[in-house]
């Protein structure tokens, strides 16, 4: 019955630390990278037409818009929220852009209207999630229906086109042999990667996602940062909508319909933890290429879309499960 009977050692105070190589290799991003290499090899075997850098880059432009939104979505998910309304925001902001331009305003005003609408929609999501404390996942399901519904109401089934020629075809403008959408994606990835990995803001996003309550107690302005991220989603969606408008030379209410799934897929494939607090831009960056390679590889091999849909649905579920398993293992 003496107090000295409680044994003490360093082992009991702290579990032994995992070797550094193990923590790196066990990251889901490593998995994404391995998958990327495998997919590239597989696609090259599947079709002799696949292994062509110019073709892959061109194909990437078709997914670049989703991938750009996916980069911002990565931050949102790391912060412990989610935004499924990205694709609908793309459509509504692009339709507003088209309608403003058609109404006779200069294209710069139309672009401004689109960006402002992006801010407004992101802010609307943020208000519902933060001010009214509603779960973001269901709120953004509501707003995704609402935003696309509004796009449908204001634009009808009309295809809005006849944009000035300088605005059209950004995907065929090259800088250093890279299509501009690819450059935009890489620049956004680099910028967000630096912010997330190297700055206080990025650090705080991880901390909020790990425990929003602890973050608040540590003096981190949780609501402000989350609001910023939702607005960032809106702006990124609006930019993506403009890129799509330029690429297609027309906008319609059904632009990017169903793309919320692909956005989530990119982020999940990149190993971002669905419950927040973990993930990286490099993962999302690699996953965007992975998705393009899988989709393009199958398309150029003329594999029916039926199989493609199945593969993508499976990938989403498997990637969530795998990431979840990896993180729950390393957590304990």
């Amino acid at each position: 019955m003496s107090d000295t009977s409680i044994p003490k050692s360093a082992v009991q105070d702290a579990a032994p630390v995992r070797p550094r190589w193990k923590t790196i290799l066990l990251r889901p991003e490593a998995m994404t990278f391995v998958l990327l290499i495998l997919a590239t090899l597989g696609a090259s075997l599947l079709s002799p037409f696949f292994a062509d850098i110019a073709y892959i880059l061109e194909s990437f432009t078709y997914y670049s818009e989703y991938a750009i939104v996916g980069l911002v979505l990565t931050l949102v998910i790391i912060s412990g929220e989610i935004d499924l309304s990205g694709a609908a925001m793309m459509a509504l902001s692009a339709c507003l852009f088209g309608i403003t331009y058609q109404a006779g305003y200069p294209i710069s005003v139309a672009i401004l209207v689109s960006l402002i609408s992006g801010v407004a929609m992101g802010w609307f999501n943020a208000i519902l999630v933060i001010r009214f404390k509603l779960p973001s996942i269901i709120v953004t399901i509501g707003t995704l229906t609402l935003f696309r519904g509004i796009a449908q109401v204001i634009a009808g089934d009309r295809s809005i086109s006849k944009f000035p020629s300088w605005f059209v075809g950004i995907d065929y403008q090259y800088v250093l042999n890279l299509p501009i959408p690819v450059i935009v994606f890489c620049v956004v990835a680099l910028a967000l990667g630096v912010i997330l990995g190297g700055t206080v803001l990025g650090r705080q996003i991880y901390q909020i996602g790990t425990s929003a309550i602890a973050a608040q107690h540590a003096g981190i302005r949780v609501n402000r940062i989350k609001t910023g991220l939702f607005i960032g989603m809106g702006v990124a969606s609006s930019v993506a909508g403009l890129l799509t408008a330029s690429r297609l030379a027309s906008v319609r209410y059904d632009l990017a319909s169903g793309a919320e799934l692909q956005m989530v897929l990119i982020v999940m494939l990149g190993g971002t933890y669905i419950f927040g607090g973990r993930g990286s831009i490099i993962g999302t960056f690699l996953a965007a290429w992975l998705l393009v390679i899988i989709a393009t590889g199958m398309t150029v091999a003329n594999i029916p879309i039926n199989a493609q849909l199945t593969v993508l649905g499976l990938l989403l579920i498997i990637s969530i499960i795998a990431t979840n398993i990896i993180y729950s293992r390393t957590q304990r």
């Binding site: 409680i6 105070d13 702290a14 206080v200 901390q207 602890a214 107690h217 003096g219 302005r221």
Partner: protein, 516 residues
């Protein structure tokens, strides 16, 4: 005292470890039919852990349990219930969207899954139980609308409804009014007289004296004494609970008490606390005592801006300030070590160094970009200064023991160089050796001229550390006692509610012995 010979329950060599720390060691205890048995001890002494092992919430690391002489396993709460053991939780567990009636019967295994729910009969039974408790709760109302006290009553009613032979009440009286306490006691006695066994966990010695037949006292995970209550004086119990004089563990060098660092004036938040005013001076350790749910933590959260008060004002170093968010408080030189470390303190999956530097982004990132060399240096200094035991700085903090996690949180705040520290139960769930280190540190903080507001449920801790002790009861400040004048009794007297909280029908006590 109808104590029979064969023990209803006997525990042999019960031990429990959490993350390598032994919180319960070799407990042997026999409980007889028809007794009310008190479990006493400081917070963390092991009495609640023992109760949870009996009721299947935890499984013992070692040791055996026997019911009426037959060895039993209690792997989960359901098994416990089937064995006739019910734990009434400190904080009621309920289904807020469902009616009181349903909360009373949910989980009781009588009837097929697709069998019809006998609503009318259930409601009748529920009303009978409420009558017996002499409370007027509408049993058709959802739990969501009930006060905590009423929810507690439902919880107690639920235990009565299931035919439990051993009922464990873990501080059931904390949120109850004296009248309700009296009702509860009379029911407890009736249950005892029917031959049931009741384990009664409480801090209130007068309740133990009034109600219990025998008492077992825990200290630091060990059972130190089991005796008839009649043979124990309050002084005996306190001595057994505290063990060695706590003074020996503390080295308080009399700090110089300086100017007012923090002044709180007429702070109110409806439903939580009302008209709270106090001051904390530089170099002063001010204790904040009170029962669970008295509103202590809410006051601390309001001062720090986590959940700001609705009215009243706060002045820091003589200047009235606006604190709407913790970041405002931090800028003003406040720091807050929250009570619920796992939720509000640590970032469990993030490395220790990132946890330590979380409140000083400006220091680790002078130009916006994080300089890991600076960060590591800051963290290493904390590890050395506070003797945080870990394997590596990049280790997730969740892998550390509770004491070292708490040290890291304290380290986080020390980097902000605060003038005022609010510590909410800083030593909860920390083993005794590390506790002493904490007492040292708190003393040093005050000696360095910082003001400390210390919230604690461990009275001895407050009595020996504090220059002044404030006491809260039911959301109001009821006492402000100088440290050298404070005693357990004077603090407890101020902490225990004296006026009725809610009408309970006021019917005279009647002994309608509804079949339990």
């Amino acid at each position: 005292m109808p104590v029979s010979d064969t023990p209803v329950l006997s525990a042999r060599g019960i031990s429990k470890q959490f993350g390598g720390v032994e919180v319960l060691s070799d407990v042997d205890l026999d409980l007889s039919a028809g007794e009310i048995h008190a479990l006493l001890g400081e917070n963390g002494a092991g009495k609640s852990t023992f109760a949870k092992i009996l009721s299947g919430v935890h499984r013992p690391t070692r040791g055996t349990l026997a019911l009426n002489g037959n060895p039993v396993e209690v792997p989960n709460p359901i098994a416990a219930q089937n064995l006739g053991i019910t734990l009434i939780h400190q904080e009621p567990i309920s289904f807020p969207d469902m009616s009181v009636t349903e909360n009373l019967v949910l989980g009781r295994h009588d009837g097929a899954l697709l069998g019809r729910v006998p609503w009318a009969q259930m409601e009748r039974n529920a009303n009978e139980l409420m009558d017996m408790l002499r409370v007027s709760i509408d049993v058709t109302k959802p739990m969501r609308g009930l006060s905590i006290a009423d929810q507690q009553m439902v919880e107690i009613a639920r235990a009565l409804a299931s035919d439990s032979r051993l009922i464990i009440m873990d501080e059931p009286t904390a949120p109850l009014t004296p009248k309700e306490v009296e009702t509860l006691f009379s029911i407890a006695r009736r249950l005892r007289d029917q031959g049931r066994t009741i384990i009664f966990i409480s801090h209130r010695l007068e309740e133990v004296q009034a109600l219990c037949d025998r008492a077992t006292i825990f200290r630091d995970g060990h059972l130190v004494e089991t005796a008839n209550v009649a043979d124990l004086s309050d002084e005996d119990i306190i001595r057994l609970m505290i063990g060695r004089p706590l003074k020996e563990m503390m080295h308080r060098s009399g700090a110089k008490i300086g100017d007012v660092a923090l002044e709180v004036r007429e702070l109110s938040l409806p439903g939580k606390f009302h008209d709270i005013s106090f001051t904390v001076r530089h170099g002063e350790i001010v204790g904040l005592a009170g029962l669970v749910g008295a509103g202590r933590t809410d006051v601390a959260r309001a001062v720090f801006g986590v959940a700001p008060a609705a009215s009243g004002s706060i002045a820091v170093k003589g200047k009235t300030v606006e604190i709407a968010d913790p970041s405002d408080a931090i800028e003003l030189g406040l720091a807050f070590v929250p009570e619920d470390r796992a939720v509000a303190g640590i970032f469990g999956t993030l490395p220790v160094d990132q946890n330590i530097t979380a409140a000083v982004p400006g220091k680790i990132a002078p130009h916006g970009f994080i300089r890991s060399a600076i960060e590591r240096a800051l963290a290493e200094k904390s590890v050395k200064d506070l003797r945080i035991r870990l394997a590596a700085l990049r280790q997730p903090i969740g892998e550390l023991s509770g004491g070292n996690q708490q040290k890291s949180i304290l380290a986080r705040w020390l980097h902000t160089d605060p003038d005022i520290l609010i510590l909410d139960e800083p030593t909860r769930g920390i083993d005794i050796g590390v506790k002493a280190e904490f007492y040292d540190m708190i003393g040093t903080l005050a000696a360095n001229g910082r003001g400390v507001l210390l919230i604690s449920s461990e009275l001895p801790e407050l009595l020996y550390l504090c220059d002044r002790i404030l006491v809260m009861s039911e959301g109001e400040l009821t006492a402000d006692i100088a440290g050298d004048e404070a005693t357990q009794e004077s603090v407890m007297r101020a902490a225990v509610p004296t006026k009725g909280k809610h009408g309970t029908g006021g019917s005279p006590p009647e002994h309608n012995e509804v079949a339990l």
